[in-house]
């Protein structure tokens, strides 16, 4: 049975306050949502790639994690957690451990789409019983908002700045969720802390309690990098979903399923407008860039609908 | 260096089993209580490429870890190597070279860059075809070099090799007999031109 919000709020908090993430940070909302799906009686080992989440949540001598936590490096949380999971399997087999543990790796889009892709791919291919959660905020925020392969086209970042002749990042974003689907692991889903959180709770629960590897790609706004006012976190998420910039779907044992279809698909402009990183697109001479983005969103959305047989 | 140490150099082509033969010889010597070394010329083996392997056999612990430059014996697993490789380089005069060839030893001397020591030949191809139905020269060559060096008694060698084959061919026991036959025939048929 899927976890509803009424029940979810009763679960013990596994990620405490007192961490040093920015005010209004989406990453901690993502983390809290995923961890809420853990059954209270289950223990967990959590890994994090170097990134905002890690440096802010585990800053000696403080940790915001109520479960066991390990940070190793930027590009290797997949391998690190797979090692811990292998240790668990053998120690359990040998009777040295009795409790049930779940294994969850968190990485930003830098540690997941880019530098950590190999380690993630290896861990998933090997079939470890773990969940890899990408909190995708579309740039290397920890080091000061540099472009990643998850950064949307035309976004202004510090290594893809919008200038007089180049209007921000020049490439469309990599579709990592589909790359992960190509691993044919038991569960892959794209989600966001959206609406009443039913989508992310249900997907986190499935990911954690499906035997074998699972991958969650979670849309995670960054007020600092995207340049919007912190209170607007949930609104930005809503716009990403309603414009079909960030479709919610899952691939369970190879079966593609759309989780949410907007009643009325909003134009991409709605998602772009509140964010300072797209400000340059709203100059009159750049109207065609928005059109280009719209075309790409439409193309990807249509292809997804086809895959999901919608 | 220990006076009793015997140094052997093997010349073959990748895929012919020269390396395996050197290891089997080491194994046979080991089983009689000797100290042994068996090692290939280090590198990736490619089918057909000339390769070198080495043996040291001694009554004392072997400490030296260099290649062998002045061998007591040389084994040539493929006769065609003679034209390209200086197989007798550094070979001691009082030693011997053992060549896989149907020819008589003296017929090959002209190919050995003025080498003056003993030459032995054994027709490993015929023996292999007769006993194994395929061309695997390494077992006959092992029999021949064991005979020439006389590092162990005949029965000791056969017993040790039978055990090795049983271990090595655990999954295909049908080839053990053929290999033993090949070993024994080569042991008997190797012929020498001693100096």
């Amino acid at each position: 049975m899927a976890l509803n919000l009424r029940e979810a709020v009763k679960r013990p908090e596994r990620f405490t306050g007192g961490h040093r993430l920015c005010a209004g940070c989406g990453a901690s909302v993502t983390v809290r949502s995923v961890l809420r799906a853990l059954k209270p009686e289950d223990k967990a080992v959590i890994g994090a790639a170097t990134g905002c989440l890690e440096v802010s949540s585990c800053l000696y001598p403080y940790t915001a994690w109520k479960d066991s936590f390990i940070h190793n490096a930027f590009e290797n949380v997949g391998a690190t957690v797979s090692g811990a999971e292998a240790a668990y399997r053998v120690l359990k087999k040998k009777g040295k451990i009795n409790d049930n543990y779940k294994f969850i790796a968190f990485g930003g889009d830098g540690g997941t789409y880019d530098i950590g892709l190999q380690s993630l791919s290896g861990a998933m291919e090997r079939g470890h019983d773990m969940v890899y959660v990408c909190y995708d905020n579309g740039a290397y925020m920890n080091t000061g908002i540099q472009r990643s392969s998850a950064t949307p086209k035309f976004a202004n970042t510090t290594t893809s700045p919008a200038g007089k002749v180049v209007p921000g990042k020049q490439q469309f974003r990599k579709d990592l969720t589909q790359v992960m689907a190509g691993h044919h692991i038991p569960y892959v889903a794209q989600t966001a802390p959206f609406g009443n959180f039913n989508d992310i709770h249900a997907k986190a629960e499935k990911a954690i309690y499906t035997e074998g590897p699972a991958f969650l790609n979670v849309f995670t706004p960054c007020p600092r990098g995207w340049r919007y006012d912190t209170p607007k976190l949930m609104e930005i998420i809503k716009l990403a979903v309603e414009t079909c910039y960030w479709p919610l779907y899952e691939i369970e044992n190879g079966k593609w399923k759309l989780s949410y279809k907007p009643k009325k698909k909003l134009p991409i402009e709605e998602f772009l407008r509140p964010q300072g990183r797209f400000k340059h697109l709203f100059k009159p001479e750049n109207q065609h860039l928005i059109e280009e983005l719209q075309k790409e969103v439409d193309k990807r959305w249509e292809a997804l609908l086809e895959k999901c047989e919608e | 260096m220990s006076k009793e140490m015997i140094e052997i150099r093997w010349h073959g082509r990748g895929g012919q089993g020269a390396k395996t033969a050197s290891l089997l010889l080491a194994e046979a010597a080991f089983s009689t209580g000797k100290y042994i070394q068996g090692f290939p010329e280090y590198g990736p083996e490619r089918m057909g490429a000339p390769i070198t392997a080495y043996n040291r056999i001694s009554d004392e612990k072997i400490r030296i870890h260099s290649n062998i430059y002045e061998p007591d014996y040389v084994v040539v697993v493929d006769e065609t190597l003679l034209k390209d490789v200086d197989v007798t380089a550094g070979l001691k005069k009082e030693g011997a070279v053992v060549i896989n060839s149907a020819k008589n030893p003296e017929e090959l001397r002209s190919l050995l860059n003025g080498y003056e020591g003993s030459i032995y030949t054994v027709d490993a191809r015929t023996i292999s075809m007769d006993t194994l139905g395929k061309y695997f020269p390494n077992t006959p060559m092992l029999g021949a070099i064991a005979k020439v060096t006389n590092i162990m008694e005949e029965e000791e060698l056969f017993k040790a090799m039978e055990e090795s084959f049983q271990h090595k061919f655990a999954t295909k026991p049908e080839v053990i007999e053929g290999n033993m036959e090949a070993l024994k025939r080569a042991y008997k048929e190797v012929k020498g031109s001693e100096r």
């Binding site: 919000l5 306050g17 007192g18 961490h19 909302v29 949502s33 403080y62 479960d67 936590f69 976190l233 | -």
Partner: protein, 100 residues
Amino acid sequence: MKDKKTPLGGNVSWKETTPGGIIYDAGNATRYKTGEWRSMKPVWNKDKCKQCMLCFPVCPDSSILVEDGKMTGIDYDHCKGCGVCVEACPFNVFDFVKEE
């Protein structure tokens, strides 16, 4: 050994610090007060609250206090005043005021 503690504070000798920087007390970040970061402050109007709980999961600082499934207040020790709860509330239960 269940209550092994990580020494806090800035003046811990190398002999006393923990090996490899391991932290023994899970969740001890609660002892670090991030409430000081606030320039704006959400104020919960209990009487208007419908207990819909939508403010709870949106809080990045785990600062919506809940007991038995009901909201009971805001943890100002850790609330950074981002205002996400204020915007997320469908019933406008929160005031968002300047921190005094």
